[in-house]
Symmetry: C2
Subunit: 237 residues, 2 copies
């Protein structure tokens, strides 16, 4: 209706003057699903909430955002280009097709491995104790590492995410170096924290300068704070 149109007009005005206007940013979000057969798959827990909130926050600051997302139940934010995918391999293809970007924020919980074999038909259970052969796994492409690799297409700023259940800072600091990304946003997704699938988050931002623990806050605020830090980085660079 008219009110929506007026609000959208002012939002676009604000975005055009935003600190990230003219910057293209990739956000990956959600889990990936890795099929074993037509009805079974290996999955990662990830609601996609944090990634979708970051995509929205970056768009609010004027960035041209491409959100590449695995299966979630969330609605795509307004003012972002939304690309849906299912598996890690598909996600990498979608990212490559949309490249290059000025920055990338990789929040997706990409499955590290996928079943070596995908059966064309449903694997039948014949008898009660009939158990199929163990599921052999193969490594999926490492999307964060590929985006972070040096080269003419590398985004100026690459932000990775680390979901850990123990030794959060140590694991995430190691991950930053291993992947070659610039920043890592790390969180503790242990069952007790309620972060996985929840609406709040408590993160540690790890950069080359060290680590910085942010207070417990709604995922939207984590998103706004990260978007604003990225805008500052581009301004200072």
């Amino acid at each position: 209706d008219i009110l929506d149109a007026v609000l959208a007009f002012f939002r676009h005005q604000q975005q055009q003057n935003g600190p990230l206007a003219g910057k293209s940013v990739l956000v990956t979000a959600g889990p990936t699903h890795e099929p074993l057969d037509p009805v079974r798959y290996l999955a990662n827990r990830s609601s996609g909430k944090q990634g979708y909130a970051i995509a929205a926050a970056l768009a609010d600051l004027g960035a041209t955002v491409t959100l590449v997302s695995g299966p979630t139940t969330l609605r795509a934010p307004a003012d972002v280009t939304y690309v849906a995918c299912e598996t890690a391999c598909q996600m990498l293809e979608c990212v490559k097709s949309a490249a290059p970007f000025d920055a990338a924020v990789c929040t997706a919980a990409v499955a590290d491995w996928r079943p070596e074999v995908q059966a064309g038909q449903k694997i039948k259970k014949i008898s009660r104790d009939d158990v199929p052969a163990p599921i052999r796994l193969v490594a999926n492409p490492d999307i964060l590492a590929e985006i972070s690799a040096p080269g003419p297409q590398r985004p100026a700023l690459v932000v990775g995410f680390a979901a850990e259940t123990e030794k959060v800072e140590a694991h995430a600091t190691a991950k930053r170096q291993r992947k070659g990304c610039d920043w890592i946003v790390a969180n503790d997704v242990s069952a007790g924290t309620g972060i996985m699938g929840g609406d709040r988050n408590q993160v540690v931002l790890i950069t080359a300068q060290g680590s910085e623990r942010w207070p417990h806050m709604p995922k939207e605020e984590v998103a706004q704070r990260l978007a604003s830090r990225m805008a500052d980085w581009f301004t200072e660079t």
Copy 2:
């Protein structure tokens, strides 16, 4: 508000006079998620839509419905007792706790197998080509077979579901005998059909008397037709 209250009043009146009034019915629905570690799991594709629609249709006919559901994004129907669970083992426990029932409709896509080992911490990927040992599987409890097993607690009418990707009638007919249930509702969930996750369904009802192909129709209509057939069965018995 008042209108909702008035509508609920008339719905309850109608239910009390419904053909399934006084009958307790179990409906299982949704997929199960079988954890590999705190962030990874093996899953089955199942939106839960058909099962939730059946629970609602049975309640409309006056049945006292318990809906035991794995993880879905659906809202529980009004007028049913809703029990949430995640794994096949949990689903069986929930079913046992709520038993006995006059009838059971097992629509849940229960995982046949679960990982033999569930890691307490996230399995770490150390290097790029570091692939964990194959995932060994163990058989999950067969909830439909357990409910169908002869005994004083067996529901008078047990309806199973079969999701097949080939030879639908043959596989489903064999499943009816193997599981010991009374009826099987079979459908073809091949990728091309759009049934998995979709809003319409095309099923074959298999009983001791033979098989009966129903037309392609919305999942709500499949639900109403099945609930009505169950009511007829109780009236005739």
